[in-house]
Symmetry: C2
Subunit: 164 residues, 2 copies
DNA sequence: TTGGAAAGTCAACAAGGCTGACGTAAATTT
DNA sequence: AAATTTACGTCAGCCTTGTTGACTTTCCAA
């Protein structure tokens, strides 16, 4: 366990350590999405619907263009998802009062039920992982993830963090 | 910062903390894939090709069915990707000597060049994140990710870890 | 020698990305 | 008042990457 000339232990920056981190991200993300995917399969929805539901729940009354910025997809792609959710009565779209061009989005009762089901499942896995790893590991986990984001995404992330 | 009756501080297990972890995973994964995606766009390849290249590089001589287990896709889906990589001379497929039904996969020189380009980019981001967060954060990062994997995926992950 | 595993192929399909073009209503600028 | 810009929706078409099902070839092992 030699230190560098600079005095810092940089063993965690070897290519081997970085590769492990990369593979950990790959395999963990599979677990991260597995439970919601299971719930959604068979219903007419997919991961894209889950994401829309999550962020509408997270920021009730958000506009379409705000959602576009968060999700990082085209409006055509989002619209396809949003349309089915509105048709199926999971999401309500309200014309803006101050700016009538905007549409403000809310989950309906029915939407909240599905959101709860999905997030319960995802939280259960996250809770188990957090519990297994312990509080200080969780802090490190969040630090590394935050540092991995594109600056633009980090802004979105922090905006949500503060808002909540 | 009150402790629980059990004596452990479980503040990190609140729904709010879990939600932040979920959103951190979402935004960070975007960053994680962004650089390779940029490199691959315009070439005829996508994320699926990157994954195949990564794991063939990681385990030279691996069989198709082993790769299937790691990637968790159908053989038809993998085959489409693998075929183009072989046609383009990035991957070499060798009939097994002990079991001639098996195909053993290797990166060619050309494949190694692309692998290097992709993994350099991905490692650079991971390195920056690790450096920003520090060694103990990295340890926590890996612990939480590992705990988040499905048991089957954790096996694959550890098999790769040991092998390397 | 026969059953089954490994690998590959063809066909068809779906989700969910993308671009481009166009339309409408509302807000803003000129 | 007119022109422009913004926010949103939609149609059409394309691509990647996933899926299932059916079928063949090869070859190991009971």
């Amino acid at each position: 366990m030699a230190d560098t000339p600079g005095g810092e232990n940089l063993l965690f920056l070897t290519d081997e350590q970085l590769r492990k981190g990369i593979e950990a991200m790959f395999f963990a993300y599979r677990g991260f999405t597995a439970d919601p995917d299971r719930i959604l399969e068979g219903m007419d929805y997919g991961r894209a619907h889950h994401r829309a539901i999550h962020f509408v729940h997270r920021s009730p009354g958000t506009t379409v263009s705000n959602l576009l910025a968060i999700l990082g997809v085209t409006k055509q792609s989002l619209n396809r998802v949003l349309r089915t959710l509105i048709e199926d009565g999971l999401v309500r779209s309200e014309k803006g009062r101050v700016d009538a061009r905007e549409r403000h989005l809310y989950l309906t009762e029915k939407g909240l039920v599905l959101e709860r089901e999905l997030s319960d499942a995802q939280r259960a896995r996250m809770r188990a992982a957090y519990r297994a790893a312990g509080p200080s590991a969780v802090q490190g986990f969040r630090q590394v993830l935050e540092a991995m984001m594109d600056p633009e995404m980090r802004k979105q992330y922090n905006r949500l963090k503060e808002g909540g």
